[in-house]
């Protein structure tokens, strides 16, 4: 299953929606002020992406090429509306926080991009898998961003977890009297932390490339000898 491995690698790292393609930054920056908020929005996005990819791929033979974009948007918008209403009904507390950002998943370019670039050309199984992997790629980045901002900003992790799973409570990582670093939780902090994360990814990639080059050089030398 080499193809599935490639999909996984693309979604989680190489073509990662945020770190690689810089798509969907609006909701990403706005909602990543705590880990719970970030992961919740990420999970909603996975759900929409997986379902949208599956449906588009299944129906791809029926969708005329000329109107594919309106149809894609129609499908995505309907799915988002369904997720929105379901969340409002069953996760109401969380919905009050994420509320305005759920509808924004419709215009999150990641969803349309994957549907157009992948799901419309590949069989349902692979398409759904790709949607979910791209979604997981989004969720780990937004989750990490949210966790860093929350940790630096208020010294906790998973504050507000009781909105999703009643009974659990936040982890107080730093002492209670930590004065906080408010800017990390406010919008500017999102830009700072995301910038550092992208720099980190580029650094890791550059290091990996450098190592690969070294290996190639070594291999070349040994074959000559």
């Amino acid at each position: 299953m080499n193809a599935y491995r490639e999909i996984t690698h693309n979604g989680l790292w190489k073509q990662n929606a945020v770190l690689g393609q810089m798509l969907g930054l609006c909701s990403l920056l706005a909602i990543s002020n705590t880990a719970v908020n970030a992961i919740s929005l990420g999970l909603a996005t996975i759900l929409v992406m997986g379902m949208a990819s599956l449906i588009v791929s299944t129906l791809r033979g029926l969708i005329p090429y000329e109107i594919r974009i309106p149809v894609f948007i129609l499908i995505i918008a309907a799915l988002v509306t369904v997720v929105d209403m379901a969340m409002n009904a069953w996760l109401h507390e969380l919905y009050l926080v994420l509320g305005i950002f759920i509808p924004l998943i419709v215009v999150n370019c990641i969803v349309l991009a994957r549907v157009e670039a992948f799901a419309a050309k590949n069989p349902p199984g692979a398409a759904a898998f790709d949607g979910v992997m791209m979604g997981i790629g989004f969720v780990w980045v937004i989750g990490l961003l949210g966790a860093i901002r929350e940790f630096v900003g208020q010294g906790t992790l998973f504050a507000g977890i009781d909105m999703v799973i009643p009974g659990l409570s936040a982890i107080q990582v730093l002492p209670e009297d930590y004065p906080g670093f408010l800017i990390a939780i406010l919008p500017p902090g999102a830009f700072f932390v995301l910038g550092l994360m992208i720099a980190g990814r580029n650094w890791l990639d550059a290091r990996a490339n450098e190592r690969a080059r070294q290996r190639l050089l070594l291999a070349g030398q040994s074959s000559h000898a």
Partner: protein
């Protein structure tokens, strides 16, 4: 980069930087006289942190330590931070601010000569957004008890009620925004014994100190006279115009020029050669823009003084200002500037 060199390097950076430090001394002297020696502690803290951070980052980047450390630019940043932060702020606030300035605002952008934003102002903005309460606790004028200030800076238990006083800018905005008090500028500034009638007791003398130092810098040829003039003239004109319309709701030019960071901004911040505009006309636009935005933020904004935010906003505009004010390239017959604009 877009156009001509961003930094016009004089013969020696360090000579310029140390003259700038010397020019701050009269203002600092007035500060100590009216608000106690706590500010000296903050300056020392900021200087040590700045040099240590500069050395650490230079070592990490593999740059020669001695050459860059000695240029004094880190010290200027450190002193400006110390002078714009409240002098009774806890020690870690200024240390964190200096780290933000040196590590993030200066070196992450490429170090001296490369940073698009004024590092000291970045530090101020980050810290006032992060710790608005601590950054709004200013000492009362005439409070010079060094032991109390020392406790406020280093003590774990901060009892500030006796020390803290709203700055004139803060007091003015607070009271003017309460419709039921029907307050007027004159009422707020005049009736309250703690404020002088120009820029607030104490603050106006500190501002005079900066003014003296700034004039000396002009005389020494370190900074051009255009930037401070454009800054002060704009701030004076806009505040004067609004004071003429309604003197009860808008403070006049003497207040605006001699309160808060106006003098510091005019002579020591807007004149930063690295993050400011490079063309002559550009520098004037840059300084006037900071002054205008400062007045707007002071009058209608949500944060205390507006100099820092105004400076960063104008820093963003510098490439555009430079591009628009570039002289036509020599020898071009069409007389068009490189971007195709008719002069």
């Amino acid at each position: 980069m877009l156009n001509s060199p961003y930094i016009t390097k004089p013969a020696s950076v360090s000579a310029v930087m140390f003259k700038v430090l010397a020019a701050l001394l009269p203002g600092i002297a007035a500060y100590v006289w009216f608000f106690g020696a706590g500010i000296l502690l903050q300056i020392a803290l900021a200087s040590i942190t700045a040099l240590a951070a500069e050395a650490a980052v230079l070592a990490m980047r593999g740059k020669p330590l001695g050459l860059f450390l000695k240029d004094g630019s880190a010290l200027v940043t450190a002193w400006l931070i110390a002078l714009t932060f409240p002098s009774i702020a806890p020690w870690w606030l200024i240390v964190l601010g200096v780290l933000v300035a040196i590590v993030v605002a200066k070196h992450l952008y490429g170090g001296l000569g490369q940073n698009p934003f004024n590092p000291a102002m970045v530090a101020f903005c980050v810290m006032i957004v992060a710790y608005p309460q601590l950054m709004s606790q200013w000492p009362a004028a005439g409070f010079t008890d060094f032991a109390a200030e020392f406790r406020a800076i280093f003590g774990a238990d901060r009892h500030l009620d006796a020390i803290v006083m709203a700055t004139p800018l803060d007091a003015l905005r607070t009271v003017l925004r309460l419709p039921e008090t029907r307050a007027t500028v004159e009422g707020v500034l005049g009736s309250n014994a703690t404020f002088g009638n120009i820029g607030g007791r104490g603050w106006e003398w500190v501002a005079l100190g900066y003014l003296a130092g700034g004039l000396w810098l002009i005389q020494q040829g370190v900074i051009s006279w255009r930037v401070p003039t454009a800054f002060l003239a704009t701030l004076g004109l806009i505040s004067g115009a609004f004071a003429l319309v309604d003197a009860t709701q808008y403070a006049g030019p003497t207040f605006h020029l001699f309160t808060g960071g106006a003098m510091l901004g005019a002579f020591f911040i807007a004149t930063d050669p690295v993050s400011g505009a490079t063309t002559v006309r550009g520098q004037i636009i840059f300084a006037a823009g900071i002054a205008l935005l400062t007045w707007i933020i002071r009058t209608f904004g949500a944060y205390p003084d507006g100099i820092a935010f105004a400076t960063l906003l104008m820093n963003i505009c510098v490439p555009l200002i430079d591009m628009r004010t570039q002289r036509p390239v020599f020898g071009r017959k069409t007389g068009k500037t490189p971007d195709g604009r008719q002069p």
